[in-house]
């Protein structure tokens, strides 16, 4: 068949010139699409393409907006737009028309409309919402083909939030008499499961029905869902094993209709899918695995035909056999099968065989022995992909004895392919050192191998490699000190040899490693004059191709060596030359070198030989510079600004920023909106013009849905890689235990007479596969065992620590989880209170009466018994005032208030409310809003008329310093007031405070009065006074971002002003500025967490955009804004 295709395709050029040829299909080339296609085929340069497509886009734009365009034409336009996008040119203006075409077209036009939508839009595109109605309508259509289209597009992309709207309709389709509809409905449910698993949880029984569908197509579709479900939770689906086995048996047995065959193989892709499911189910489960042995055996047997697709099935089958609980008979057959793959002359099969081998040797390293000769041959294969895969197999069977040979092979490989700066080889180079120091047979070999790695790796090498290596040199592997010294001496030796020869070809990174090692360790070598090393380094310093970074490394090495007599003179010479260098770093280092070489005492103090690595103390706060800084400041120097701050300022000065707040002056703002009136395409600063929130968004960087790949430390996938590495390591360790399989010795016997070449290969094989078979001498065995044991022990120790940590963290997450459950009882569901902390500050305790005070949410209190401390004494800047003042009797609001000390009565405060009381004591509370804290005032009143004596003391110990505090008398009918300064450490909409007062009315009889009260976020909100300019700066630096539309207060005058002042009244906000239809408002959460609000009239509502550095502060505040405005 492919021959046919080839023939027709080669005839293409002639076809192009003939319009009416069959190749051109039903389209005449005079049509616009035909014209476009013809122009595309005639393109010769990127520039031409750009011109052509831009012209085309302009034409399309004109046509789509014309009212006379028919649906048929629209379809053609869409295909043209698809072409443009395919070549990488955005045709976003046509997206909406694609949706319209899907809505209004019929048959093929509708289908193309849907197609264009699925090609143009992605899951998170806003326009997708417009499609929902069309889909809804088509799902209800009586026209099957329309239902089909709707189901197809739904399973390609659909907004997650709208799934509930169509889910019932899709479910209903599961019982449709037409196979295709049922199948597509199952595929749509698969999509739903992938994007929103919770939404389809309730229809698991229907999945089972689909699995049992009489039509094989529907059943096949349901397997996608099952594969996913089983992957996530294999245990719940063990009962289906029998069904899957039965299905596979039927498929393999040829029970399906013939049109499911592909090249006479029954439904191969279905078989592969089933094998994947079975291997997931049978993993580590003997009884389940036993159910499938027979059918796997049958699969192996049936797939005898010589066609690629049967090999694809075989591969999957072998993988399954090695994944499930092992059965020796099957393993043997599978191993034989892999053997056939590996020796196959067909290159693709060889590849697959090696890939299977890579997988299999992790289970059973001895299998590599059976194929050792083939592996050796593959190592020399001309195709680098095959070589690479072979190396991967070798990687898995590395042990202490064969590492030298394997690494040598790998370095050979590197030398040959290194010309391609592919990421692959970067990774290769990254692997070696790790490989080397795990298994390296001796120091000398290690250093030499690393020398090769560094020379080959060049500048592309990951910087971690030299860093790790240097750390290794400095700290050792934890081995004997003597051995470590030997390693260092050897490194010094080999580097000196390298430096004596030509250094021009050495990569910079390697030069840096060399100079560091020489500087640190050359004193270790007896009889080596520092002068000699310095000379070599000085020579290196003058090489032309050495970068200034490397020069700086060399100079610091020289500084270390400059103490010796001969070296000092040389150092003087060098430092003179470089003290006039243009590079400031070099200049400074040259001067340092100069001083150090002149002053041996200073040198000994600054750079002692062989000092312990942890003995250095670094003053990272640079406190020794404090006096210098303060002096400079007092002389009028500008204070230091962090780089990001500087950048921000620079950006604001230079660039025309589209951020709404970057313009600080109201004047420029208004003028800006006037100029914008002429050009609606420009983003308006005043959103009365832009109106549309999309447009506003366009000016900012969209970060939703963008994966965080780069962090401060660099590429973030490193962590994954490391984790994976750890896994691999675990997998690789079992490779060491020996298996009874015969190894190289046997193969030597069978091949009686061998050519010299073959003998060499045999030799190579025996060195590669040593340690895998049992033929090793007992001496070697013993040695290898001890090494591997040592290695394993280490791993286990590391394992146990890590699992210990994870257990701990899981238990804590468990508790916070149960906290969360409790919290659901609260009326406030916006925030879980699980980790809340309120700081209770306390300073000197002066008053005569005290009570315990426990500030925590009611819900978490059960955990207090378990010893969890939920309240922390907060930062020292706010002190607890415990003010008690005996007073007269009578408990009315005014009388209570009159008890307030003057400093309290001046503060704004809430009404006084009764917290709790019993027959002798009454507790009232009120909240006073001080600028730096919320004061929780508690008023204790003695209700007894007689002059009985009260003793109160604390029982709870949450605030440690209050524990067991003074007991004092409270005379009858008298009152005392005390208060606590509270701060909110993490934002929550509300928190509960609980406490108790213990008193002794009768000596020896203690009574306790419990109380609780609720504190709201608003109690902790204070206005934040700042200028528009400061606001703009802050705005840009905050990451937490929430937007919502709120109700607008319609009253007399300006609704924006009315709304904002209502908010200001209720929530203690500060209105920074109001310009036109926009207002900016700021507040802070005590002690000092700012939250900025940007309010804008949008339609009939107030669009509020909140930003804050704190995670949930915008949400919490928004809740209160909403509440306030609803109540107005």
């Amino acid at each position: 068949m492919s021959d046919v295709v080839e023939k027709t395709l080669t005839a293409l050029p002639s076809l192009l010139s003939l319009d009416s040829q069959s190749g051109a299909g039903k389209l005449s080339s005079t049509s616009k699409l035909g014209g476009l296609i013809r122009s595309i085929t005639e393109l010769t340069s990127k520039h031409e393409e750009e011109k052509l497509i831009n012209r085309e886009l302009a034409a399309i734009k004109e046509q789509v907006s014309s009212p006379n365009t028919s649906m048929r034409q629209m379809k053609e336009i869409m295909v043209r737009a698809i072409y443009c996008e395919m070549l990488g040119y955005e045709a976003s203006f046509s997206y909406i028309h694609a949706i319209k075409l899907a809505q209004q077209g019929s048959a093929i036009e509708k289908r193309v409309g849907y197609l264009a939508v699925s090609l143009f839009l992605n899951e998170s595109h806003d326009l997708l919402l417009l499609l929902v109605n069309t889909v809804l309508k088509d799902l209800q259509s009586t026209n099957l083909i329309e239902v089909c289209m709707a189901l197809t597009v739904v399973s390609q992309l659909f907004p997650k939030d709208m799934i509930p709207a169509i889910l019932p309709l899709v479910e209903e389709k599961l019982t449709n008499p037409k196979e295709i509809i049922r199948r597509k409905a199952v595929l749509a449910l698969h999509k739903f499961y992938l994007i929103a698993p919770n939404q389809v949880q309730h229809i698991h029984s229907k999945f089972r029905k689909a699995l049992c569908d009489k039509d094989p197509g529907v059943m096949t579709a349901s397997l996608h869902i099952y594969l996913q479900l089983i992957k996530e939770n294999p245990d719940s689906y063990k009962d289906l094993t029998g069904s899957f086995v039965a299905i596979l048996r039927q498929v393999v047995g040829g029970k399906l209709p013939v049109d499911f065959n592909y090249h006479n193989v029954p439904a191969p892709w279905l078989q592969i899918q089933l094998l994947r499911i079975l291997s997931l189910l049978g993993k580590d489960d003997q009884s389940t695995s036993e159910l499938m042995y027979e059918v796997l055996d049958e699969s192996l047997r049936r797939a005898e035909m010589n066609h690629n697709i049967t090999y694809a099935i075989l591969y999957e089958c072998v993988k399954a056999i090695y994944t499930i609980y092992p059965k020796s008979e099957l393993l043997e057959k599978a191993a034989k099968c892999i053997g056939n793959f590996v020796v196959s002359p067909k290159i693709n099969l060889k590849y697959l065989g090696l890939k299977a081998l890579t997988y299999v040797v992790q289970q059973d390293a001895s299998l590599a022995l059976q194929h050792q000769m083939t592996i050796i041959e593959c190592l020399d294969h001309s195709d680098s992909i095959i070589k690479r895969e072979t190396l991967e197999v070798l990687f898995r069977i590395t042990n202490v004895k064969n590492v030298a040979v394997i690494v040598e092979k790998m370095l050979d490989f590197l030398k040959n392919v290194f010309m391609e700066p592919d990421i692959l080889f970067l990774l290769y180079v990254g692997c070696f050192p790790l490989l080397s120091d795990t298994y390296s047979p001796n120091n000398e070999w290690f250093i030499q191998t690393m020398n090769v790695v560094f020379s080959l790796g060049g500048e592309l090498m990951h910087p971690d490699i030299p860093n790790n290596f240097l750390r290794l040199l400095a700290q050792g592997f934890g081995s004997e000190e003597e051995e470590q010294q030997q390693l260092r001496v050897f490194a010094v030796d080999s580097y000196l040899t390298l430096l004596e020869s030509d250094t021009a070809h050495l990569p910079q990174r390697f030069l840096q490693v060399i100079s560091w090692a020489l500087g640190e360790f050359s004193y270790l070598k007896d009889g080596l004059e520092p002068c000699k090393v310095t000379k070599l380094l000085a020579k290196l310093l003058d090489e032309r191709n050495v970068t200034s970074e490397s020069r700086s490394w060399i100079l610091s090495a020289m500084a270390k060596l400059s103490a010796g007599p001969g070296a000092a003179a040389l150092a003087l010479q060098v430092s003179e030359r470089y003290s006039s260098s243009l590079d400031t770093v070099l200049r400074q280092q040259a001067l340092e070198l100069l001083h150090l070489s002149q002053d041996p005492e200073l040198h000994a103090r600054v750079l002692p030989h062989g000092a312990a690595w942890d003995s250095f103390e670094v003053d990272s706060s640079l406190s020794f510079l404090d006096s210098f800084v303060s002096e400079a400041l007092s002389q009028g120097a500008a204070p230091y600004k962090a780089p990001h701050q500087r950048q921000e300022e620079l950006r604001q000065e230079k660039a025309l920023s589209l951020e709404p707040y970057s313009i600080s002056l109201p004047v420029s703002l208004s003028s800006c909106s006037i100029t914008d009136r002429q050009s609606p395409t420009l983003l308006s600063m005043s959103s009365s013009l832009s109106g549309n929130s999309n447009e506003l968004k366009a000016g900012t960087l969209k970060l939703e849905g963008v994966k965080r790949v780069w962090g401060k430390e660099g590429y973030l996938h490193q962590q994954d890689a490391v984790e994976e590495a750890a896994q691999v390591e675990e997998a690789a360790t079992p490779a060491l235990p020996l298996s009874p399989q015969q190894g190289g010795a046997e193969s030597q016997q069978t091949h009686g007479d061998l050519t010299v070449v073959e003998q060499e290969k045999q030799k190579l094989a025996s060195s590669l596969f040593v340690g895998l078979g049992s033929q090793n001498s007992t001496f070697l065995m013993g040695k290898s065992d001890s090494t591997s044991q040592q290695f394993r022990r280490k791993t286990r120790a590391a394992d146990s620590t890590s699992s210990g940590v994870s257990e701990r963290s899981s238990s804590s997450s468990h508790s916070s989880c149960s906290d969360f459950l409790h919290n659901n009882l609260l009326e406030d569901s916006q925030n879980s209170l699980n980790t809340q902390k309120i700081g209770v500050s306390n300073g000197t305790h002066e008053g005569p009466v005290t009570q315990s005070f426990q500030t925590t949410s009611k819900e978490t209190s059960p955990f207090l018994d378990a010893g969890m401390v939920l309240v922390q004494p907060c930062s020292p800047q706010t002190e607890l005032r415990d003010f008690v003042q005996p007073g007269s009797s009578g408990i009315t609001q005014t009388s209570l208030r009159s008890q307030f000390p003057p400093e309290l009565s001046q503060l704004p405060h809430s009404d006084i409310s009764l917290l709790s009381s019993d027959h002798s004591l009454s507790l009232s509370a009120c909240r006073a809003y001080r600028d730096d804290a919320l004061l929780f005032v508690i008023i204790l009143s003695n209700l007894k008329c007689c002059g009985s004596i009260f003793e109160t003391f604390s029982t709870l110990i949450q605030v440690a310093s209050l524990r067991g505090n003074a007991l004092e008398n409270l005379p009858a009918h008298s009152m005392s007031v005390c208060w606590y300064a509270l701060l909110m450490e993490e934002p929550h909409t509300q928190v509960t405070v609980a406490g108790s007062v213990s008193y002794r009315a009768v000596p020896g009889h203690t009574q306790t009065l419990q109380f609780t009260d609720k504190l709201f976020l608003t109690d902790f909100i204070r206005p934040l006074t700042l200028s528009t300019e400061e606001y703009g700066k802050l705005w840009l630096s905050f990451s937490q971002d929430v937007r919502q539309n709120l109700k607008l207060i319609q009253g007399e005058g300006d609704p924006l002003r009315a709304t904002l002042s209502a908010l200001k009244e209720q929530l203690q906000l500060h209105i920074v500025d109001i310009i036109g239809s926009e207002g900016i408002v700021a507040c802070r959460l005590l002690p000092d967490s700012p939250c900025l609000l940007h309010c804008r009239i949008h339609g009939g509502s107030l669009a509020v955009w909140l930003r804050s550095p704190l995670l949930s502060l915008p949400d919490c505040l928004l809740y209160y804004c909403q509440k306030t405005l609803e109540e107005c």
């Binding site: 492919s2 295909v79 990488g88 289908r111 197509g217 049109d259 290159i347 994954d720 290695f791």
Partner: protein
């Protein structure tokens, strides 16, 4: 030498291996590197596609005829098959079965051949929409949805009949 702290780890040669097997993209590219059809099953920015496609074509074109049809490329694998001047390249995750995808490509070409009766590059260009429709029946969401030739072609046949009538 055995116990060294951070460096006892051995990473796999290719660090990025995702767990679920799926198809990431399906491309038809001619020898000159011009894209004739592209379908992405994982979101790739429009702006990044041409570079990615050029990269992919380059690594496929550099392969010999007698070399293996699977190439590792960044964090995914490429399976490619050449039909005269036209390459079909499929990007897949590492756990996907390369050979089955290789044959899937051929199944697709056989279907095109059946529909267009002797398909050519020009057929594909002039009927880009239809080729897409066929592909959408076969691969959905990066998974093999249907491989039965009759069933894959059925919806398109109905639409064609409607258009004629």
């Amino acid at each position: 030498m055995v116990e060294s702290g951070p460096s006892t780890r051995r990473p796999r040669i290719v660090a990025l291996r995702s767990s679920s097997s799926m198809i990431k993209f399906f491309l038809m590219v001619n020898k000159q590197g011009q894209t004739r059809l592209s379908r992405y099953y994982e979101q790739v920015d429009l702006g990044k596609r041409p570079a990615l496609e050029a990269d992919v074509v380059r690594s496929c074109l550099s392969r010999h005829k007698d070399e293996c049809s699977f190439v590792e490329h960044k964090d995914y694998k490429l399976v490619f098959r050449q039909y005269a001047g036209l390459f079909i390249v499929v990007g897949i995750t590492d756990t996907e079965n390369e050979l089955s995808i290789y044959e899937l490509v051929h199944n697709f070409v056989e279907i095109l051949d059946k529909y267009f009766s002797r398909v050519s590059e020009l057929d594909i260009m002039f009927n880009l929409d239809r080729v897409h429709l066929i592909l959408d029946e076969m691969i959905l969401n990066g998974h093999v949805a249907e491989t039965n030739k009759t069933r894959i072609l059925a919806p398109l046949m109905v639409l064609d009949k409607l258009a004629e009538g």
